[in-house]
């Protein structure tokens, strides 16, 4: 590709420089000067200074000429050729000095104060000065930059090379800037996307004002006082507040609705998941009708959205609701230019609190094609309507809105960002938009794109740092609303992660290998190394009862998710029948034990599946899918993600074998492999299931000295409870031994220990407090002889 040429001495270049020199106030200044000089000259002419008056008139007329010249020509010189000086916009060309050495740095310096260059730099979060310092002064770099500017202008269908195109081209062709952007995780593509966004803004700024019909437009149609009272006139709102749905008016969804009405269909069912943009499509249709609908079925039509809550709240007497609805429908029919929009349409099609059924009233009207109607509903509600009222549902023309692709969502986010920046005085970086797309996709599964990404972007405004919304703001918003950690670990948190084993061991005795395996998995997940399409971690805990399997699960919930109650615990011995699969997958509200419901309510949890070996093979097959894909699909076809959970299955299988090995003095790591093979050969677990866990963790029985440590941990809990009464309790070594002796059971591990401690220590302290022997502020030292209850029971 030959490099484009530029002649900064051409007539167009000189005119552009003059235009830049004169500035954007030239037109108004010219008119003012001409008015002042011509008016002043007329006054002077009445006196004896006629010569001065002639000159003043001449100056006035010349100012008038200059003002008009600037406005109609210099401000936007027409593009008249392919050479750069002919194709550069006057804004860009006027900033290039005739004697200027054209290098990336000098050209950027000329452009950097222009709003388009600032727009670009701001959304990359790069100060214009920093960019300038990084740019080369070598003129030879400009050849590539010019070519890139031409490419970007062509890409955005712009006849002129705007300052934004040129600025972006300089950034895209500068190796130093590219390195800088890579360090900031911003790719070349972001610069290009920002230019496309900028071009769309330019087009909307330069678009001619839309014509909505003039003062006599509605005189051939009826009045709509009740509709105005009970609904919102979307068309009127667009007329008053401006049209913002430009590109959406050409979308397949809007065109399908328009086509359906143009063909004479009376009612359209707009079907799509929450957040997919049903209301936006209706707003876009309203704009399209206002601007350019020439079809008789749509010309001058207005869309009014009915408010069901308002209708219900106004109906105070029996039968009033029906009267209001009939009045509204009659008014719609009589007006002749109203399209009724029922948003959240299920509220109009079922009887209940805040809703009412109007299908019987609507049916004959829609059959007679007496009005036009748009009904927005989710696919589930549409199916429900088909089941409940097939006759009415059959009259609707379905228009299905699917979730838009990434490019379309980003376009919506860009437009949203433009509005937010204008209205809330913030700056939203482009990387933040990408992060909003990414994180909302991962963590907001109840709402569809683009709604969920928009919602996250809006939520992030409160986390803006110095009015700048960056990736950190988006991450902070999702962390606050979803209770998950997605940002880069802060130094304090990173330190906690690095010392996770110590934190867990503060509440767990021994099981060093189990804790270490789990801690490594959590660190991998937090550092972003683990696969995002599977659960954060998946573990099979094997070992005897009462050795800390559940306690470790609780510790993980507390350490990773911030609270012990972030745990979903299922006893798998309750799922031994083939039919129990549906109980796990139920998406409705009737199944309290549904795993799907639990994970939807609390996606950031430890999922603890106790006694997993007792579950039916069909249930275990489900577990395979969960471990593979990180999600399950409920009975209604909606998926639920487990990708933010840690899955822990526990089992006592082979507990005796573990005990035997440990008693022989063998280390866990040495017989792990052999033990796993035994579990497979004895048909206790299928190999495909075992292979899918991140780690199989063996727990060994606790030794008597470890049980003493368990007593110590339990005493901490007792003291924490008594802290309110300012009483502290301590056990002598003999007392602790006494409790271990009373509470230890080789079959149940440390589990009976709590009961023993309760009856020995807590009862003893309670008796002392009630007997007045122990008062607030006392420190109680209990010896073995004080634990009478223990001895008696033991």
């Amino acid at each position: 590709m030959s490099s484009p040429s530029i002649n900064l001495r051409s007539r167009r270049a000189r005119q552009a420089r003059l235009g830049h020199l004169l500035g954007r106030h030239t037109f108004s200044l010219g008119l003012w000067l001409s008015a002042i000089f011509i008016g002043g000259a007329s006054l002077i002419y009445a006196t004896s200074y006629q010569r001065l008056a002639y000159f003043a008139w001449a100056v006035g007329l010349f100012s008038f000429m200059i003002g008009l010249w600037y406005r109609n020509d210099l401000a936007r010189l027409p593009v008249s050729g392919s050479s750069l000086d002919q194709r550069l916009s006057s804004d860009a060309l006027g900033r290039l000095g005739v004697r200027q050495t054209l290098s990336p740095r000098s050209v950027w310096h000329s452009l950097r104060d222009h709003w388009q260059a600032t727009f670009l730099a701001n959304h990359l979060l790069l100060p214009t000065n920093t960019i300038e310092q990084q740019l080369s002064t070598d003129q030879s770099y400009m050849d590539k930059a010019w070519q890139e500017a031409v490419r970007l202008a062509d890409l955005t269908d712009s006849p002129a090379i705007e300052p934004g195109h040129l600025a972006a081209a300089i950034l895209n062709t500068s190796p130093a800037i590219q390195t800088l952007l890579k360090q900031l995780k911003d790719g070349n593509n972001d610069v290009e996307q920002i230019v496309v966004w900028l071009s769309r803004l330019l087009s909307s700024q330069r678009a001619t004002e839309p014509y909505f019909g003039g003062i006599g437009r509605d005189w051939a149609y009826g009045f709509t006082p009740h509709l105005t009272q009970y609904g919102q006139n979307i068309s009127l709102a667009i007329e008053q507040n401006g049209a913002h749905y430009g590109w959406l008016t050409a979308s397949p969804g809007v065109q399908s609705i328009k086509k359906a009405f143009a063909q004479g269909d009376p009612a359209v069912a707009l079907i799509g998941e929450e957040g997919v943009g049903k209301s936006s499509h209706v707003h876009a249709l309203a704009q399209l009708i206002l601007e350019e609908a020439h079809d008789r079925n749509l010309e001058h039509h207005q869309i009014i959205s009915l408010n069901p809550s308002l209708i219900v709240s106004r109906a105070r007497e029996p039968g009033e609701l029906e009267r209001i609805v009939v009045t509204l429908l009659e008014e719609t029919i009589h007006a002749g230019h109203i399209i009724l929009f029922l948003d959240d349409a299920q509220l109009f099609f079922k009887s209940g609190v805040g809703s009412f059924d109007i299908t019987q009233v609507l049916l004959p009207i829609v059959q007679a094609k007496a009005l036009q109607l748009i009904i927005a509903m989710t696919p589930h509600d549409y199916q429900q309507l088909k089941t409940d009222n097939a006759a009415f549902a059959d009259l609707l023309t379905p228009v299905v809105l699917t979730e838009p692709d990434e490019a379309a969502v980003m376009r919506v986010l860009e437009d949203t960002a433009s509005n937010l920046e204008a209205n809330r005085q913030v700056l939203i970086s482009y990387e933040a938009l990408r992060e909003a797309y990414r994180l909302s996709g991962r963590y907001e599964q109840d709402v569809a794109y683009p709604g969920k990404a928009i919602r996250l972007l809006e939520q992030s405004l409160t986390h803006a740092n110095n009015s700048v919304v960056d990736t950190g703001s988006i991450q902070a918003a999702i962390e606050q609303t979803r209770g998950v950690k997605v940002g880069t670990a802060a130094p304090v948190e990173a330190d906690q992660l690095l010392h996770l084993e110590e934190t867990i061991h503060q509440r767990m005795v021994n099981q060093v290998r189990a804790v270490s395996v789990v801690a490594n998995a959590l660190r991998r997940a937090r550092a972003g190394v683990a696969s995002p399409k599977r659960p954060i971690g998946s573990f099979l805990f094997l070992g005897p009862t009462g050795v800390g399997k559940t306690e470790l699960a609780r510790s993980i919930a507390a350490t990773y998710f911030g609270a012990e109650d972030h745990i979903i615990r299922l006893d798998m011995s309750e799922y031994q029948q083939p039919s129990d699969v549906s109980r796990l997958l139920s998406g409705g509200n009737q199944e309290k034990a549904s795993l799907i419901l639990a994970i939807r309510q609390q996606p950031f949890s430890v999922v603890l599946l106790d006694e997993v070996e007792k579950a039916h093979p069909n249930v275990l097959n489900l577990l395979l899918q969960l471990l593979d894909e990180g999600q399950l699909t409920d009975t209604t076809g909606r998926s639920a993600s487990f990708r933010d959970s840690i899955l822990i299955a526990t089992s006592n299988a082979g507990a005796n074998t573990i005990r035997e090995h440990v008693e022989k003095g063998e280390e866990l790591e040495k017989f792990e492999k052999q033990f796993t093979d035994q579990l497979i050969s004895s048909n206790q677990f299928k190999p495909e299931l075992l292979n899918r866990f991140d780690e199989i963790v063996l727990f060994r029985p606790l030794k008597s000295e470890e049980l003493l440590q368990v007593v110590g941990l339990m005493m901490k809990e007792v003291n924490s409870t008594l802290a309110n009464q300012n009483i502290t309790v301590e056990l002598t070594p003999a007392a602790a031994q006494e409790i271990v002796k009373a509470g230890y059971d080789p079959r149940l591990g440390a589990r009976p220990m709590r009961r023993a401690l309760q009856s020995a220590v807590e009862d003893s302290i309670a008796a002392r407090i009630l007997g007045g022997q122990t008062k607030p502020g006392d420190h109680v030292m209990l010896d073995a002889s004080d634990l009478t209850t223990t001895r008696e029971s033991g």
Partner: protein
Amino acid sequence: MLVFSLFLWWYGRGWLAVVKNLRNMLRGISRLFSVPQLLRTLLAPWRRIISYPGASLDAKLRAYGDNLVSRAIGFIVRLIVLLTALVISLLAVIFGIVSIVAWPLVPVAIVVLIIKGITA
């Protein structure tokens, strides 16, 4: 050189712009007053305020009379607006023609005024 560019524009694209402005002005007036819509519905009832004919002849005649009144009101209002649009359009045409004729004379006038100023 720049003055030459100014004159080149003034007698070229600038002059054409005046013609274009006149055309836009007339279109704007027509749009503001909804001229095509009002012409098409000149005899339509005012805001669809109509009576539906009853069964008896008396009721039918009364409805016919009511509707005639509604159409008459609609016609009068629309006619007034259309006449207003016509008057404003005529004024715009006169202003536009004067502008088109006067446009080429402006630079000449400047030269003449300077000469007058020197020689007066």
